[in-house]
């Protein structure tokens, strides 16, 4: 399983279009994320991929072959549902061992996974007493238990503390390194941004943008902030600021205590660096790119993109 594609997927529930001709491409060794506001169709898309929801229209292709998600394929799929829950009267270890038995995994391996997700000490406690973050960790353990080649995580960061997030990041890094297909849905793009390679933004059941974080930034063209530390000599500093303001029209700038901050369009970055080059008025330079969450907000304001 190296290449997974959903093509033109439409799902209707009564009069509500959960998905409208949605497309998604996933590749082995690439961590992909889908993001979108509530009701964008993220969870439905994941459930179509798992075969939990039947599409009215559209196809699922795995390695170039059109397939229907069935029992045999699900052997290679790990799934963490949103707000995962378990039978309350079981302990963490019992939950893990049940899924281990169902998936043909040894008890020892199940115990190791439980340890990996940081639940060894809570293994004998009833799931009823688990916090949301602990249930999320247990769910993550269940999802990776059989070392699936397709890992689907629905809002995996929900309720996780820093330790839990560290476990999640290590799982994502490991699956990426091993060439497995990973897809996660999220509301919090700023949190997952450093860990994902590709992002698809959904709105009202349709993908409105898709690409690497850098591609999405370029596509949206949000201003980049450049923080410049200027020399103590006022005359040289003033001359530099004047030169910048003249060279780059419609510049948004602020100056305070020897620090000059400008917000410029990505296309003006080159002009600015030319001005800085060799200019001793600038002692320090820092580029601050817009966060993926800002890109996401901007994309949601715009009409649909290709």
């Amino acid at each position: 399983m190296k290449d997974v594609r959903l093509r033109d997927v439409t799902v209707r529930f009564g009069n509500v279009h959960a998905l409208r001709a949605a497309n998604l491409s996933l590749t082995g060794g690439v961590v992909s994320a889908i993001a979108g506001p509530n009701g964008a169709g993220k969870s439905t898309l994941l459930q179509v991929l798992l075969g939990l929801v039947r599409a009215d229209h559209g196809t699922l292709e795995i390695d170039g072959v059109t397939v229907r998600m069935n029992e045999a394929l699900r052997r290679d799929v790990g799934y963490l549902p949103e707000a995962v829950a378990f039978a309350n009267n079981l302990t963490g270890r019992q939950v893990m061992r049940f899924f281990a038995f169902a998936r043909g995994v040894s008890r020892n391996h199940a115990d190791r996974v439980l340890e990996r997700v940081g639940l060894r000490d809570a293994a004998k406690r009833s799931v009823r007493g688990y916090s949301r973050g602990m249930r999320q960790r247990l769910g993550l353990g269940v999802a990776v238990l059989s070392d699936p080649r397709l890992l689907i995580l629905d809002e995996p960061t929900g309720g996780l503390d820093q330790e839990g997030l560290t476990v999640l990041w290590s799982v994502l890094a490991e699956y990426k390194q091993r060439g497995h297909v990973v897809l996660l849905s999220t509301h919090d793009l700023s949190l997952v941004e450093p860990r994902v390679d590709r992002v698809a933004i959904f709105r009202k059941g349709t993908g409105i943008a898709e690409g690497t974080p850098a591609e999405l930034r370029d596509h949206v063209g949000l201003p980049i902030r450049v923080d410049l530390s200027l020399t103590d000599e006022p005359s040289r500093a003033d001359a530099f600021v004047a030169a910048v303001e003249q060279a780059i029209p419609q510049l948004v700038a602020s100056r305070r205590n020897g620090c000059f901050s400008v917000s410029i369009k990505p296309s003006d970055v080159l002009d600015l660096t030319r001005l800085i080059g060799g200019n001793s008025a600038v002692t320090q330079l820092r580029f601050v790119e817009p966060g993926l969450d800002q890109v996401y907000e901007q994309l949601l304001k715009e009409p649909a993109h290709a």
Partner: protein
């Protein structure tokens, strides 16, 4: 598939063994069955002869209730707890999940019935142990039919509270009011309803079929004849009717889930 199926059935059994409601009703059943046999043991001949019918009445009341309680949350309960998606993500089909759940819960029901009659047998005389052993298998059939009905109700209900109300309603209708309705029909029709119709109506209800089958073993044959029921005809139909009652609701449950767009 068999491994997932087995895991799921075992999971169901172990979860049900921890379910306080199932345990409570099972122990109530065991306690009442033991009380009946203990009373019969100490009573004189006349009262002792009522052991069979008393146990039949007890079983026909409580076993459907235990079975319906066991079945009512099989699907809708998982859906409300948000655990259904995780189960259906296992390498097993929707129908397979239903069958595995039914099997696990049927094992729990078997345990419950065996516990009830087993404890009663400890308190019973040698003669009454025979009565209890004759009751075990038909009681299991009765329970299987109601468990199957409970599974169907659970599959088609959107909320657990709806499933609870529906199983209680089904219990009242099939266990209490159905027979009363038939009685009213017999009296009201004043002989205009044929015995064949009566037989078919009795057999259409698993609780009625169970009572008639068991009463034919433990009471005078004339009782059934007075009600217009021919025991021979009923015993020929019984396996088919039990089979339909046990298989059809579970099958419908599986078909219903299989046909659903979303689980």
């Amino acid at each position: 598939m068999p491994r997932v199926w087995l895991a799921l059935a075992w999971h169901e059994l172990s979860e049900r063994a921890r379910d306080r409601w199932v345990l409570l009703i099972s122990f109530v059943f065991a306690g009442l069955a033991s009380a009946v046999t203990m009373y019969s043991r100490s009573a004189d001949g006349g009262a002792a002869q009522l052991t069979g019918p008393s146990l039949v009445t007890l079983a026909s009341l409580l076993i459907p209730l235990i079975a319906l309680v066991l079945g009512h949350d099989a699907i809708v309960g998982e859906r409300e707890r948000n655990t259904l998606g995780l189960l259906f993500s296992l390498p097993i089909g929707r129908t397979g999940v239903v069958v595995a759940k039914y099997t696990g819960r049927l094992l729990a029901l078997t345990f419950s019935i065996t516990l009830g009659f087993g404890l009663a047998a400890l308190a019973a005389s040698e003669q009454h142990r025979g009565v209890l052993s004759q009751l075990w298998w038909p009681s299991l059939l009765l329970g299987s039919a109601f468990l199957s009905l409970g599974m169907l109700i659970s599959s088609i209900s959107m909320r657990q509270v709806t499933a609870v109300s529906t199983v209680i309603f089904a219990w009242f209708v099939l266990v209490f009011f159905y027979d009363l309705g038939l009685l009213a029909l017999l009296v009201g029709a004043d002989g205009r309803v044929s015995s064949l119709t009566i037989e078919r109506l009795v057999a259409a209800n698993p609780a009625g079929l169970f009572r008639v089958e068991m009463m034919s073993r433990f009471t005078a044959k004339s009782t059934l004849v007075d009600l217009g029921i021919r025991e021979q005809s009923l015993s020929r139909m019984a396996p088919l009717i039990w089979g339909l009652w046990i298989v059809m609701p579970v099958a419908c449950s599986g078909i219903f889930l299989w046909g659903k767009k979303s689980v």
